[in-house]
Each structure stands twice: as C-alpha cells, then as structure tokens.
Amino acid sequence: MNINDLLNSTGEWLRGDGPVSDIVISSRIRLARNLADYPFVSRAEPRDRLKIVDMVRELLAETPSFSDTMFCDISRLDAVDRNLLVERHLISHELAESEGPRLALINGDELFSLMVNEEDHIRLQVMKSGFDLHGVWDLANKLDDEIESKLVYAFDENYGYLTACPTNVGTGLRISVMLHLPALAITREIERVFRGLQRINLTVRGMFGEGSQALGDFYQISNQQTLGRTEANLIEQLSDLVVVIVDYEKKARQMLLDDDANTFFDRISRAYGILKTARTINSEETLHLLSGIRLGVNLGLIEDLGIASVNELFLRIQPAHLQKMAGTELDPADRDIERAKFLRSQLNPNDE
C-alpha cells in the first residue's frame, strides 16, 4: 500500500454512514502518550528522535493490528503528499510541517493512524463515520493496550499519563465529534449554542480554513478537560452534548422548511446550479455551496446525489487532492479552474 492508494477511497470518516450521519460527520478519539525513558519531543536530540522512530517501527511492525498499515517516513514525503495526509485528517499540520525524524502509521481503511514525534512521542487516533464514540473508544483502548504491552509509557500515579503539554495530562484523551450544522448557521443560532458550550469547558472550532471560521458549516466539538475523570465519563459528557446540538440542528432545519420553504429550496437549487456550471471556483465558495447541497440531500430536496458522494466532494476539492488528481503541482488560479472542472464532471454524470 502507498499514499496514492488513498486516492481510491474517501476514508472511513467521510463514508457518510453510521448513526445520525446526516448531522454527525465523524467521531474521533486521540490518545497522547510518551515513553518513560526519553525526553519529550521538543527536548529530544535528533538521535533520540531517530531511536524512537526506529523502535516504534520495529515493535509495531510485528503487531497483528498494525499488519495492514502503511509506515510513512514524513521527512521523505513531498509537500503535496504531506498535505494530502493532513486533508484526510490522518496527520496534523504540526507533524507535516515540523523537522527531523517523524513517522506516521496509517491503517489501510483509514480507521486509525499513529503519529510518532509530533508534540508527544505517540499520538494514536481512531476515527469512525457517524456518531459512534463507544466504537471508537473500544478500538483506541485496544490499540493502546497492544502498544503499551511493548513500550513503557511515562505514567504518574497522581497525574496519570504524562504529556508534553499539561493541557493533555491525565487520560491524554481528546474526543472530537465533527458536526455539519448548516441550519443553525443560516438561522444564526449557532453563536448562542457555542457560547453555552464554552461555559462547560468544551471547545468548538471550524474544520476547514484558519482559526474559528467554519467554512462549509463543519464544526468540531472537543473536550478540554483530560484529567480527573474517567475516559468513559468524558465520552459520556461530550455525547450528551452532541445529542442536544443535533436536536437543535434538527429543529432549525424544520424551522427553515416551515418558515419559507420556497426561498429555502431556491437557495439550494441555485447552489447546485453554480457548482454544476462554474468554470473557476475557489475553495471557500465551494465549501459554502456544498454545505447547502449536503443539507438539500439530507432533506430530500436533491434526489440525484447521495451523502457519500457529497462527503467525497468536500474531501477532493481541497488543494492537495486536486493536485494529486491532476498529477502535477498547480498554483491557486489553476486549482480554481481544476476544481470547477472536477465539480462539473462529478455533478453532471450524464454529459461527457
């Protein structure tokens, strides 16, 4: 398996099924772990980092759960390939852009990945489509046990798993649920919902674009607290909230239909029309319009398109994916042309 094989699928988290998948895009869990007998990554000498990479590679290559796994030496990948992994949420920006020996292990189904020498020595993440935090945790916990049977983690009776940043200490657990909330965005209720979340120590951020801008109305909700509660308890707390937000979104969707269905249909039809015919289009506009399309498909307003196909478009209109498909590096203006061409070909399947 190599990186180009990834292009043949959309990966687990955008598969578009699983519980509540009309609103919950994916469930993800990340565990941060460090080896007991090395300095943390930012303080480790290059030779220590190299040893850690070699050790993890050697130990996990023989572990059955990692048999269908690609071991990627990040420092040997070019920028487009690194960004491709970032766009697929398999590695972080930090791992893609840092220096020195570092490794990513990527499961063939893109169900899990493991980063070596990111902020912590080991960062394991498990992702599933839809709302399935228990399924995700069961797998993460099992993989963590397997890794831990081969390596000794830095652990303190009082503080739990020790991490490079005290924001992750304890369980080292970050739970993230990605939600598509277009109706809350249209009805401008979203700010109010999120202000409520911040009061209870959960963070929200947009998935695409920089900072808090939420292009495409994708929002990721994560826990901030990692210490002082059990993993099950942290998962339950976040799950309870997701249920509430999903309910708000459903109500907002119904409100849009009840309120002025014609204006709402018009908005979605026009979005579809632009994506089917544009000759050049940037990612911001595309994400905005695709969000409307995704909502339209979920509400049955667009019948000739499935959720899996729309999810796939969200992934493939990103810069590294476009460049991989084109087989060459493209500047932003050429990417906009290529993006429009790709959208036309996907959304007008009958014309050649």
Binding site: D37, P39, S42, P46, E119, G228
Partner: protein
Amino acid sequence: MKCQHCNKPATFHITELTSGEPQELHLCEDHAREYLSQSSDDESVVGSVAASMAQQMAEQLGVGETVNQLTEIDRQTCPVCGIAFHEFRSSGRLGCPFDYTVFNEQLEPLILNIHGETEHRGKHPSRSAGESAKRIRLIRLRREMQEAVREERYEEASKLRDEIRTIEESIGHTEDDDSIDPPTSEQAE
C-alpha cells in the same frame, strides 16, 4: 484598567522577561491570547496555556512582587532534561516526564486551572510503571553522554555509556546502538 490594544477591560497582566528589561503588559483576553500564542497548533491550545499560566502566577504572587519572584521561578531548571521554567512558560511544552515532579509547585495550580482537578481517575497501564526512577536516570545519563561526546570528552562518554547499558539491561531494554562516535552532520542538525 483597559487593554493596551482596545477598549475592553484588561484581565491579563503579563510580565515579559525574555527581552531585556521586564515589560508589563495589560491585555484583554483576546489580545492576551494573540500575544501569547506562539504556535498555530490546532490541538494543544498553547496560547491559552500560557495565558492561564500568566494569570495564575499573577494571582498567586500579587502584583507588586511579581517581577522578582517570577524571575527566580523562571531560572529553575530540571536536573534531568535541563529545561528552564521560562522555556516552558514561553513554549507551553515541558521537557521530560520528571518536569511534573520538579516544577510541581508551579504546575499544580496551572493544572487545576485547566482541568478543574489534579488527580487522575482514568486508565492505568497494565504493566507496572515500576523502576521509573531508573528510566528518569536514563534520560539524564543520555543527555550527559551526548554532551560529553559533543565536547570530545570520550573517556567520560564511554563510562556513561556503560552505565546506561547496565540500567537498560536491568529494565529489560533491548537496545543495541549506544555508540559514542562523534555525531554525523545529519544528527548534529
């Protein structure tokens, strides 16, 4: 007091020690976050760690005494990995597991502030974490050996290497290569 950059109230009072003369900053939450964030890392929220750290310290120390006491705390270093406290304060990243012990007095209130708790209640590794003192010692000895190699004190480096091997064998490590050859250019990067 108002924020130096806008009209919102200044809730963060930061004393910057890294650039020459101590400098007092009074900022609102947004500008404090902007000022303190060193990295665009999307997960670790380094900015808010540093911000809550600064606020924590200001609360603990009282405004008048802040500068001297902060300087003293900032100079403390970890005997194992060698990181100084101010390096953690500016980057938001610790240097090694032992930092949680050495800097506990400063970290505990910070951790309480971030998590609202100071005691782990989650998963425990199934393997005993025993002999952690030996592992901590390994981190320190490896650093000393690498320093000795860099400074071409090969005799000392070789003694350190033997000591490292003895400990590694005693905790069942199966590492082969602890060569004390001068680092290659790649390693010295």
